[in-house]
Each structure stands twice: as structure tokens, then as C-alpha cells.
């Protein structure tokens, strides 16, 4: 049961990764997990 190509792709080149500065304007918060 190998990992699918999509999973491997996202693992090797993660998109939308990074951090915002705490006092930066325009940053929002979100919740993690399944609703």
C-alpha cells in the first residue's frame, strides 16, 4: 500500500506553508480538524 502520487507530491512540495507575524495586520485565525 504505497502512498498515492498526490500525497507524495504535497509532501515533497508543500503549498501554503509558512507563518504570519503576530502583530501583522490582516492575519486571521482558523480551526483545525473535521467539523
Amino acid at each position: 500500500m504505497a502512498y498515492s502520487d498526490k500525497v507524495v507530491d504535497h509532501f515533497n512540495s508543500p503549498r501554503n506553508m509558512g507563518s504570519c507575524k503576530k502583530d501583522e495586520d490582516g492575519g486571521g485565525t482558523g480551526m483545525v480538524g473535521a467539523p
Binding site: 502512498y3 507524495v8 509532501f11 508543500p14 506553508m17 507563518s19 480551526m31 480538524g33 467539523p35
Partner: protein, 405 residues
């Protein structure tokens, strides 16, 4: 150095070419059934099996007549627990085992409990995974018929004080079964000196073929009797029926002989490589924690938890190296390893553990490559990790109230 590298020798091992060579004649030329007493094909097979029994017995300092062949250590564990319980049911039905045993012992014990055939005490282990012999002594009652404690743990490599437990068992007149699958052939095992009455082990952990294992059943002081779980012909002294897989048994015997000859030098070599791997990784990566006993562990075993990074992602990042993890995703359920939990390791660290299992065919080049890769992938993953970022800023992660929804 060939890729992929195999560093998961606790799950299985490649077969030694010398073992394969010893097995080959028994597939096509000397293919007789060892139980056929009337012709040369059967006699040749029987001779090969007897020879293998001697080689296996020599490794564990037992008598050849005390070796029963099974399909593997799982079957041997089943046979030991169920066979003893059935045979000694007049005496009692209490089994003492530990919480870090292999599933083959734990699931068998749970199944016996569920059927109402046994009462089981699961002893705790200390922070490094060792069973305390005093706990064993305190748990013995007049209904105890079996103590089952493993020689060395397959996940964290910790070696249990088997000799002391064997002494206690002998003193109290309780049978002592030892699941020695990970230890036989790697560290010295002597059934007499260790006071062991029943012992399970298998071939494929010591560079032999998969599909064959053995149960050592003591013949004297005391004479141990077990009820067969597989009937049909009364093979193996009535303890395990079924035609013997002669080629696999020949391989098993050869593998044991090789271990007997090479154990001392091999364990020294593996310990050195393992220590180098450990030092290389832990010096370079902060917040990495060793699981298991620091010195009293199997020569080729290393188990490290890397905080803030989940185990499976590390394995994905190192696809040219075969390793194992105690994290939830790599088990069928979402539960982290029960062995690590028994050590008191927190859930986050249990999810981030990696197990390295070095073996006979690993080289120094492979270790160097692995050290480099682990550091590289860990660093990259930690950079991505929000928990790592929070920890670096000084946030105490234990104080965070995670909102669930």
C-alpha cells in the same frame, strides 16, 4: 551502497545466502516427508530434521529432543499459553505476563480471558521498559500456572532480567515461558542457566526463512507437558501435528548454527554501529529522546522520539531507508504504540518515535547515509511544524488549551 537501505531488522531479516544454499537440495532432490519411515527419501528428510534440531538446541544450550517445530513464534506463543493452561487446569488458571509483550502473547492472553479460561495479570514496566522481578514474585498466587515474560522487546530493545525471574519461578514452582524471538541468536540465551521452561523463537528474525519457528519444551526438572493445539498424527511428540517443512527447518538449523558461530563478533560490530548512529543523530537534533534502556538493550536496536514531528512524516521523507515507527498511522488503529505508552511516554512523543533495527548486512556507509538523511529530514519537518515554532518562542505546550469542535 545500494538503495533502498534496510534498517528494519526487528520486523524481519534478509535470508543469509549460506542458509539458502543449505535449504535448496531439500526442495527438489531430497524432498521426502520426514515422517515416512519406510524409504530412503523419508530417512534423508528425517536425518536433515534431526540435524537441524541439534543445531538449534546447541544455540540455546538445550537438548535436541526439547525442540518442537511450529510455523513461527506466534504459533509457539499460542501453543505455550494455551497448551499449558489446558494441561495444568487442575492446578489453576492464573497467568502472569507483562504489558509490553508482543501481540502474539497479549492477544492470546486476552482471548483466553474472554473465553473464561484464564485470569491474567499484566505487570507494569519501568520507564525503560524493564519488568521488575519483585513484581513477578508479588503477583504469584496458588492458582498461577504460567509466567510469560519476553527476553527482549521488539520495539525498544530493552532486555529483561530473565535469570532472576527464572529463579523466582523455580522457587515458587510455576512454569516460566519466555518469548525470546528478538534475543535468540543475538545475545547469549541458555535455557538451563536462565531457568526457562518454555521458549518461543522463530527463524526469520535470525536470517532464516519465514514460516518456521520453534518452541523449546523442557524435559527434565520439571518435565513440562502441554496439550497440543493442532491435532492429527501426533507429530513432535504429540505436541504439534503436521508434516514438517523440511527445507525451512534445514534453513532454521543453518541460521542458528551461523548465529552461534558469529554472535560475539556480530553483536560487537552492531553495537558499535548502533552507538554511532545514536550519537550522530542525537548530537545534531535537540529534543530527541531515547526510548528503552540506554545500555541493557539489543545490540542492533535504537528507538528515538523526535519532539514536534510525527513519525510517519519522517518515514515518508526518508523513502530510501526502510524503518519502522511507533506512531499511530503506521498501526492499523489510530492508537500510538502500546509499548511506548506502557513506558509512560506521552502521546505526542509516542507519535513521533522511530525504530532503527540494524542487522548482519548493514554497513558503515549505510549508517553514515542514514545519519545525514535523518538530520536533513527532521530539520526540514521541524521548520514546517507549528508546534516547534511555538516551543521555540517559549510557549509551554502543556499549558495550551486546545479547543475541540
Amino acid at each position: 551502497m545500494k538503495l533502498p537501505i534496510f534498517l528494519d531488522n526487528h520486523s524481519t531479516t534478509p535470508m543469509d545466502p549460506r542458509v539458502l544454499e543449505a535449504m535448496l537440495p531439500y526442495f527438489v532432490e531430497k524432498f521426502g516427508n520426514a515422517a515416512s519411515r519406510n524409504h530412503a527419501f523419508g530417512w534423508a528428510a528425517e536425518e536433515a530434521v534431526d540435524n537441524a534440531r541439534k543445531q538449534i538446541a546447541k544455540l540455546i544450550k538445550a537438548d535436541a529432543k526439547e525442540i518442537i517445530f511450529t510455523s513461527g513464534a506466534t504459533e509457539s506463543d499460542n501453543l505455550a499459553l494455551k497448551g499449558v493452561l489446558e494441561m495444568y487446569k487442575e492446578k489453576g488458571n492464573h497467568i502472569i505476563t507483562s504489558s509490553t509483550e508482543h501481540r502474539a502473547v497479549l492477544d492470546t492472553a486476552k482471548s483466553l480471558e474472554a473465553k473464561g479460561l484464564a485470569k491474567v495479570t499484566y505487570l507494569p514496566v519501568d520507564k525503560q521498559g524493564m519488568v521488575n522481578p519483585q513484581d513477578v514474585r508479588n503477583a504469584i498466587t496458588d492458582k498461577t500456572v504460567l509466567i510469560s515474560i519476553m527476553l527482549a522487546n521488539n520495539e525498544i530493545g530493552t532486555i529483561n532480567p530473565i535469570q532472576e525471574i527464572g529463579k523466582i519461578a523455580k522457587e515458587k514452582g510455576v512454569l516460566f515461558h519466555c518469548d525470546a524471538t528478538q534475543g535468540v541468536g543475538k545475545i547469549p540465551v541458555e535455557v538451563q542457566a536462565m531457568g526457562i521452561d518454555l521458549m518461543s523463537f522463530s527463524a526469520h528474525k535470525i536470517y532464516g526463512p519465514k514460516g518456521v519457528g520453534a518452541l523449546y519444551v523442557r524435559k527434565k526438572n520439571p518435565r513440562v507437558r502441554i496439550a497440543a493445539q493442532i491435532d492429527g498424527g501426533g507429530h513432535e511428540r504429540g505436541m504439534r501435528s503436521g508434516t514438517l517443512p523440511v527445507p525451512l527447518i534445514v534453513g532454521f538449523g543453518k541460521a542458528c548454527e551461523l548465529c552461534d558461530q558469529e554472535m560475539a563478533s556480530e553483536s560487537a560490530r552492531l553495537s558499535k554501529m548502533r552507538d554511532r548512529l545514536e550519537a550522530g543523530i542525537m548530537a545534531a537534533l535537540e529534543e530527541s529522546y531515547l526510548n528503552g534502556h540506554p545500555t541493557n538493550r539489543l545490540p542492533g536496536n535504537l528507538n528515538i522520539s523526535f519532539a514536534y514531528v510525527e513519525g510517519e512524516s519522517l518515514l515518508m521523507g526518508m523513502k530510501e531507508i526502510a524503518l519502522s515507527s511507533g506512531s499511530a498511522c503506521t498501526s492499523a488503529t489510530l492508537e500510538p504504540s502500546y509499548v511506548l505508552r506502557a513506558l509512560g511516554v506521552g502521546t505526542e512523543l509516542a507519535h513521533s518515535s522511530i525504530r532503527f533495527g540494524l542487522g548482519r548486512f548493514n554497513t558503515d556507509d549505510e549508517i553514515d547515509y542514514t545519519i545525514k538523511k535523518v538530520i536533513e529530514v527532521e530539520t526540514k519537518l521541524r521548520e514546517m511544524s507549528p508546534l516547534y515554532e511555538m516551543a521555540k518562542e517559549g510557549v509551554d505546550l502543556k499549558s495550551v488549551q486546545w479547543a475541540a469542535h
